[in-house]
């Protein structure tokens, strides 16, 4: 049932993206040389299949997309799927680093803030969380470059490379990404710690550490996981921003370039790819959710 829903959503999104990409103007205007004649336009249109009605173009596109053929980039003249696959590892590595940092921050600070409510740890971690939500990530990135690359000359400011290249983008992305998670974990942990069964466990004399990590933590995670899809959306957005500022050759930068170039097969391909990835992961999360919380059944 959930799978069907996800497929329907994906179908709707693909149609929307296809239609939107076309609204952005005639792709031929961008790709044809200035001196091209009307016949040149007609020939190119026919060659690319742009003379057919939109639904026909869409049907052709989607049937090819299912087999992994996302068309050819107008500007780079290479298959879109190949471009995505080339850039994908860079983005995945950056995302993996950021998620690790975000999870560490969120778990450590979120838990500490909840357990030691009202203490200095709580205040500091709340401030870190609110600041992470409030500082625009592109500015944070520029300030990080200004401080660590320009003034301290410690870390490289752009492009992918060795381990040092990962530090700035991953920390910037990880911080802003961890903020809502931290807040969420704190509030749900507080709620759980206030619940009847935790009180009962305390009365029974269960060790506090055991209560926190065994009884409370697992239940506090449930609402956090419900929002996994939301975090994923944030992560994707964050990746686009971070990659643009750090000139990181990943999918986010590709998406930005595609929009700038009006390279519509590329835009479609990238957005479709990202959305299907997000939907698939959300589906997995839902399944995982049912596993963690046995009360949920689909």
């Amino acid at each position: 049932m959930r799978t069907i829903q996800a497929l329907v959503t994906l179908f709707l999104v693909s149609m929307l993206v296809f239609w939107l990409a076309r609204l952005s103007g005639d792709p031929l205007d961008v790709m044809m040389p200035m001196e091209a004649s009307a016949e040149d336009y007609a020939r190119a249109r026919k060659h690319l299949g742009l003379d057919k009605p939109l639904p026909v173009q869409y049907a052709r596109y989607i049937s090819q997309a299912v087999t992994g053929d996302l068309g050819t980039s107008i500007r780079a003249k290479i298959p879109v799927s190949q471009m995505i696959l080339e850039r994908l590892p860079n983005s995945l590595r950056l995302a993996a680093f950021s998620i690790t940092i975000a999870l560490l921050l969120a778990l450590l600070l979120g838990m500490a803030a909840a357990v030691k409510k009202g203490s200095i740890v709580d205040t500091v971690s709340r401030f870190i969380a609110v600041a992470g939500m409030s500082i625009p990530i592109f500015w944070l990135a520029i300030m990080a470059i200004l401080l660590f690359s320009v003034h301290l000359k410690l870390l490289p400011s752009s492009r992918a490379g060795g381990f040092k290249h990962y530090i700035l983008p991953a920390v910037v992305l990880g911080w802003s990404f961890s903020a809502p998670m931290m807040r969420m974990l704190r509030s749900s942990m507080l709620e759980v710690l206030d619940s009847e069964y935790v009180k009962l466990a305390r009365i029974k004399g269960v060790k506090e550490r055991w209560i926190i990590w065994w009884h409370a933590f697992r239940n506090a995670l449930i609402p956090v996981i419900t929002f996994a899809g939301f975090y994923l959306g944030l992560l994707v957005g964050g990746v686009v921003v971070t990659e643009t500022v750090f000139a990181w050759p990943g999918i986010g930068l590709l998406a930005y370039e595609a929009v700038l170039w009006k390279d519509y097969p590329l835009i479609q391909g990238v957005v479709l790819f990202i959305t299907s990835a997000v939907l698939t992961i959300n589906l997995c999360v839902d399944v995982l959710y049912a596993y963690i919380d046995p009360r949920i059944r689909y």
Partner: protein, 299 residues
């Protein structure tokens, strides 16, 4: 585990009780955030009187002058000048207008669409609910920034388009949260009484359900205002926002991006302005949520 010692001291005899009372009052009303937001509104309205120069006035001999406290700067341009010799402070002051207008109008569009669809969805349930929630899922699963960027390029950069984009991209969060609220309210007895008394569905939705979700809506609006300001600045940063020469905070960060070595003040102040305002809105939202509805979790 040792039970924690409980201190029982009458509050009045406690040393420093007065200071503590002030602190707790400060905690009760987020004074600084409120002041910052009020200052934003004030500068946006009175930008004409506050700004020392026109935000468009160029002066090439004065280009890239640093702020007054740095060597080479002068008090004529307190925060320095940009690449075209325009006064950074004046552009900052006028930039607050764009942020505020986009935020308010964008929230108005998104909030109205979201509230109406959320109420309909929660009230009627069934097919209506399924349809609206699928649309919601689809919107929420799209990477918002990518969608906004795509729309901005398609529609062309302009203030009005920016506002529509905010509405189109952000309605789903409202609809989702409000639907949940409405579903619990409509099971309440007073709704049944209203129905017995002969109120139509429309009347029940407007007179009896809407007033009950206003609190939630307010909290959502506060948090989302900050988010919209960030999103707007990001689109401006990428060149998909309100086109130059109109001063926008995001655009100013972008202009300074290539000059962080020779002209750090170009992007530092505008980004600082965005951060301060959004931080204030978020802190205010936190307080508002605790104040209005402590049970309402992350929105």
């Amino acid at each position: 585990m040792e039970p924690e010692a409980i201190e029982i001291t009458p509050p009045d005899e406690h040393p420093g009780a007065k200071a503590r009372a002030t602190v707790s009052l400060m905690r009760r009303y987020p004074v600084v955030p409120i002041l910052i937001v009020l200052a934003l509104i004030f500068t946006a309205i009175f930008a004409n009187f506050l700004a020392p120069y026109s935000p468009y006035e160029q002066s090439l001999p004065d280009r890239l002058k640093p702020p007054f406290w740095v060597e080479g700067g002068s008090t004529r341009h307190l925060l320095g000048t940009d690449l075209l010799g325009r006064d950074v402070l004046s552009r900052l002051i006028f930039g607050s207008r764009i942020s505020l207008v986009v935020a308010l109008m964008g929230i108005l569009v998104a909030g109205s669409i979201g509230a109406v669809l959320g109420i309909l969805s929660g009230f009627f349930g069934g097919k209506v609910d399924a349809l609206i929630m699928r649309a919601c899922d689809a919107t929420l699963s799209l990477p918002i920034i990518l969608l906004a960027l795509l729309l901005a390029v398609i529609l062309g950069p302009s203030l009005a388009n920016l506002i529509y984009i905010m509405g189109l991209v952000l309605w789903a969060r409202y609809a989702r949260v409000i639907r949940g609220e409405v579903m619990s309210w409509k099971e309440q007895e007073f709704i049944a009484y209203a129905r017995v008394a002969g109120a139509s569905s429309l009347k029940i939705m407007i007179r009896h359900i809407f007033p009950n979700i206003v609190n939630t809506l307010m909290v959502l609006v506060t948090f989302q205002t900050g988010y919209v300001i960030i999103l707007e600045s990001f689109l401006s940063f990428l060149g998909a926002g309100v086109p130059p020469p109109t001063p926008t905070w995001g655009g100013m960060v972008a202009e300074g991006r290539g000059y962080i070595i020779t002209g750090w003040w170009l992007s530092v102040f505008s980004g600082l302005a965005i951060s301060m305002v959004v931080l204030s809105l978020n802190l205010f939202g936190d307080w508002l949520r605790d104040y209005l509805d402590p049970k309402l979790r992350q929105v």
